[in-house]
């Protein structure tokens, strides 16, 4: 991928990072949370007209630090995906590491501008597959009456510029999607000044490659429950 092609993603990342370095003031709120997560992941693929779906439990955790209007979140998951009943797809091990930085320009924190970068990998008897997925988007997270209740909805766009490594040994070696979308909705129950936190979330990704169903269509879903602890002021 050329630098020109990566331009919008690089710009968003640099802008958010510069803001995080320059903007914080001493009196700003600081908090930190960590959570363990159990999820069910599902990956549906249409490849050369042939559809396969695998799913299974993924477990992982997340850590989030907040300084003033900036939030940095790191997540990691790992699990095994198996073919649905009657399917003939190969069982595969998978894992993902995702980093997200968010700027909350509104004091109440209901609006956030996000930029993320994820690396996801699958390994099966057929080979190894790795995804690198930069995204940017918007997150809306209004308070649901009580300040400990917060719902959120985020929508991200993954520029059609990222690269995917196909199964090793295949002659193509790589492919570029022409449409990448990601959305997530969830609920977080957490006291503002620290304490235990609980939540649920639903995560959805769609990647369309050239030639539609005759080429490759990819869809990844994940539903998770998580619990952890938050400290801060």
């Amino acid at each position: 991928m050329s630098l020109r092609a990566r331009g919008p993603v690089v710009f968003v990342h640099v802008a958010l990072l510069l803001g995080a370095v320059v903007a914080p003031a001493p009196a700003q709120k600081l908090s930190f949370s960590a959570a363990a997560s159990a999820s069910w992941a599902k990956n549906s693929v249409m490849l050369l007209g042939y559809r396969e779906a695998v799913e299974g439990p993924w477990v992982g955790g997340a850590a989030e630090g907040k300084l003033g209007p900036f939030v940095l979140r790191l997540e990691a998951f790992r699990g095994t995906l198996k073919p649905q009943t009657g399917g003939s797809a190969l069982e595969r091990d998978g894992g993902e590491v995702r980093g997200t930085i968010r700027l909350e320009p509104v004091a109440a924190g209901w609006l956030g501008l996000e930029s993320g970068y994820a690396v996801r990998a699958f390994s099966s008897a057929a080979g190894y597959q790795r995804w690198t997925i930069p995204t940017f988007g918007v997150r809306v997270s209004p308070r649901l009456g009580h300040r400990a209740l917060r719902g959120y909805l985020s929508g991200h766009y993954a520029p059609p510029l990222a690269q995917k490594s196909l199964f090793a040994g295949q002659s193509s070696g790589g492919a570029i999607w022409n449409l990448g979308l990601m959305a997530e909705a969830g609920l977080v129950i957490a006291p503002v000044r620290g304490g235990p936190l609980l939540g649920i979330r639903y995560h959805f990704e769609r990647f369309d490659f050239p030639n539609g169903a005759a080429g490759r269509l990819d869809q990844f879903e994940q539903v998770a429950v998580f619990g952890g602890f938050r400290v801060g002021r």
Binding site: L144, L149, G151, Y152, L153, A185, I200, Y202, Q219, V223
Partner: protein, 351 residues
């Protein structure tokens, strides 16, 4: 063995048994000798009486009672005057004035010539003495400390009360003209709002014409405890009115919950690629959406904010203000009472 010998032996025995009795026995002996000398004088044996008085004065120790010495000096002076020994009489009168300027010959006992001679000697003799209550209690904000000054020669007297065991600040004093004796009131206050601090003080009287002639008294000033008022007990919680009540339900919470919940359920419906096949509707998304919606509905009630009840807040504040004002007044009164506590003034050493 005569009665006096028996008394003397008894006295010796008692003194040996209890040494503290010895000064009292000696004083009693001096008084007996003085009375015997005065009796001799009364029997017109003036010369013999003068001899007895002279012998008595010569045998008096320095710590002998001043009143006894002064009385002996006065009568010896009068006897000398009667014998024509006027210079000797003047010496006795001068010693008497120096010993106690307050002492005055009784006009009923002495003839006017002797009194006039004594007065002439007194007015020529520089001497000063102080007389204060040996142990008294003074309210420094209302009562003065009474001091009497006696002089021989009329003079200006500077009286000063100064601390000797602490900071020198805090001395009080006055200057008065004294012809013979005078008494005045000494306020035990540094200023109108500051009483004398407890401690050890020296009360000194000094003559203006002969500053070397002075008299002093050591005083111990002690602050006595005072009764203070107890502070009011904290206000009982039942006296306060509730300062807030639950506000109206937060309808916006339900709307936000429903909106995000519906959006969560709609994510796979909207973003699903129909070419991929499979179900657009996902139970997982619906479940999460339902959870968000339920939380939104819960927020309608749990998110009700507390609305302050202004009149109750004002009422509670007034309760607290009144309580603080009452306690403040008590504290001020206690502080004033402690500051102006009665002072006990004790003489430690007579001049």
């Amino acid at each position: 063995m005569g009665a006096r010998t028996a008394v003397a032996i008894a006295g010796v025995v008692l003194a040996l048994a209890n040494p503290q009795l010895l000064p009292a026995i000696r004083q009693q002996d001096f008084e007996v000798r003085l009375e015997r000398a005065l009796a001799v004088l009364d029997s017109t044996e003036t010369e013999r009486g003068a001899q007895l008085l002279r012998a008595l004065l010569a045998s008096l120790p320095p710590d002998a009672p001043q009143a006894l010495r002064v009385r002996a000096q006065l009568h010896l002076g009068a006897a000398n005057w009667a014998l024509g020994l006027k210079d000797s009489a003047a010496v006795q009168f001068r010693d008497m004035v120096r010993a106690n300027p307050f002492a005055v010959p009784d006009p009923e006992l002495f003839n006017p010539e002797i009194v006039a001679a004594w007065r002439a000697v007194k007015r020529a003799t520089p001497a000063v003495a102080l007389l204060v209550a040996s142990d008294t209690t003074i309210k420094p904000d209302a009562e003065p400390y009474l001091v009497a000054v006696g002089v021989g020669r009329p003079d200006e007297v500077t009286v000063r009360l100064a601390r000797t065991d602490g900071p020198s600040a805090g001395a009080v004093g006055t200057r008065i003209r004294v012809d013979s004796t005078a008494s005045f009131a000494l306020a035990l206050r540094i200023t109108d709002s500051l009483p004398l601090a407890p401690g050890r003080y020296q009360l000194t009287a000094r003559l203006a014409l002969s500053p070397r002639d002075s008299a002093s008294v050591s005083l111990q000033v002690t602050s006595l405890p005072v009764d203070t008022l107890p502070h009011e007990t904290p206000l009982d919680a039942s006296l306060f009115r509730p300062e807030s009540r639950k506000g109206s339900p937060v309808a916006g919470s339900a709307i936000a919950g429903l909106a995000i919940g519906a959006a969560a359920a709609a994510i796979p419906v909207v973003l699903h690629n129909s070419q991929l096949g499979g179900n657009k509707v996902q139970i997982a998304a619906i479940s999460v959406g339902a959870g968000i919606s339920v939380a939104g509905f819960a927020g309608v009630f749990v998110g009700r904010r507390l609305v302050p009840i202004t009149e109750n807040v004002t009422y509670n504040r007034s309760l607290i203000d009144q309580w603080e004002a009452r306690n403040g007044a008590i504290a001020a009164r206690n502080e004033l009472a402690r500051r102006w506590a009665p002072l006990r003034v004790q003489v430690l050493r007579n001049p």
